[in-house]
């Protein structure tokens, strides 16, 4: 059981580290857009790359967030039924609905991977005026989805532990939704 616990902690930590890193991209997006405004408005010489780079960063930023958000229970759901169930009941329900989660994410992983490898095979570029490589952004789809799937497996293992009272996982008191009430 030690292996399972280690796996779960490892995945959660991985998503946390990656998430906190990617979160900083917002500074870059901000800086590039401000630069473009300055170049165009003050110097009358818009660049070919700032807006496109910002958009590429945004794509990576968005798709890489799935696992981090799952680790922090940030994907919103309807809790009408949940709020009337004991923790074990919730866990059982979540085990059942996880089928839908895995159908979606695994389909996305498979075809995201297919899309990305096609792009990498031709070192695809955007063919805009700037023409940067876009395969790294496409590669972020299977990567981000992969992280989400891993975190989904962790969540499933947690639910199984709660539902069947297994010892490899003890639920911590639920994390506060990051201090809105503070």
């Amino acid at each position: 059981m030690g292996v399972l616990t280690a796996f779960m902690r490892g995945v959660t930590r991985l998503n946390d580290v990656i998430g906190r890193g990617i979160a900083l991209l917002v500074f870059a997006m901000f800086a590039f857009l401000i630069m473009e405004v300055a170049f165009r408005y003050l110097f009358n010489s818009p660049t070919v790359w700032t807006n496109e780079l910002t958009q590429m960063l945004f794509g990576v930023y968005a798709v890489m967030s799935g696992g981090y958000i799952m680790a922090h229970r940030g994907h919103v759901n309807v809790d009408l039924l949940h709020s009337h169930l004991p923790p074990r009941g919730q866990a059982v329900l979540d085990i059942l609905t996880s089928v839908i989660f895995f159908i979606f994410t695994l389909a996305l992983l498979y075809f995201g991977f297919s899309m990305a490898s096609e792009s990498i095979a031709s070192w695809e570029t955007s063919y805009s005026a700037w023409n940067p490589p876009i395969w790294p952004v496409k590669a972020a789809i299977p990567l981000g989805t992969g992280l989400l799937v891993l975190q989904g497996i962790v969540k499933l293992l947690e639910d199984i532990a709660v539902a069947f009272n297994l010892s490899y996982y003890t639920p911590e008191p639920q994390e506060d939704n990051e201090g809105e009430s503070s």
Binding site: R40, S45, T47, V48, N51, M115, Y127, S128, A129
Partner: protein, 315 residues
Amino acid sequence: EENFTWKVQSHWPGSSSSYEDSLVRLKNIIEERTDGRLELELYEAGSLFKAKEIFNAVSRGILEMGTISPAYAQDKISLAGIASGLPFAFRNVWEAAYFHQGLGFEQMLRDEAAEHGVYWATDKVYPTEMVVKQPIKSWEDFTELKIRSSGALQTFLTEAGAAASYIPGSELYSALDSGIVDGAHWGASQGAFSMGLYEVAKYHVQPALNIAGTDVIIVSQKALDKLPEDMQKIVKQALDEQFWFRTNEYQYKERITLAKAINEHNVQVNTLPEDVQDRLTQTAQKMWDEEGKRSENAQKALDMLKAYLADLGYL
């Protein structure tokens, strides 16, 4: 007898004149000639696949048919750059049409697309023209412009000395209105009219930035092969006719729309001064050579084009 239904993803929004004039027309003709045995299900821009993904979807056989701009297939088709239009090459639409159909450029495109399981049929050739808020009367006027552009033309306009930037279509009207840019191209007069650009930019610039086969109909070879032979023939023939009919009709509609813009929105045609045209052509010719470096095939097409233009007395 077997019936077939094809999913057709368009890169035109429903309000674009080409959606009705090109795609619905094609649907009607094919359905009529096959007695309804082949039915086309049309999807407006963005419904199933985004424009840039249509080629991939047709190539994989998920979609049976689609419409694209060659620019969306640049990573697969090395001739796409030339197909989507070298700036200041052709001066009349018929020249581009003859280049495609008479000199065999269309067949070269078709051969390249075939390697990806796609049957390529150019929908029409037509000009791309700019609208600007202030008339261009001198080279200085041109270099002071901020122009909304995209792709190869953005590179070209920047090289030529204007400040060209990319702004997505959804923000184009506001950008032109508030003066973030002073000019833009979106097709020619029909495109500008449909985007409401004449409300905020009153000068229609001629000659065209380029004249090219910028709209293409693509068919999945897999889907085509599944049809009985007579129906395959009907589809291919309809596509061949489409090119000539639409190229001609589009020219007519351009003229009508421009006249309407002149009457209703007080638009004026701004013909570029001779020296501006010359300098733009010089910049353009440097760019052509870049396109040739894309592949052996592209070099061959470029040589063919240059010889043709020389024959026409332009080089």
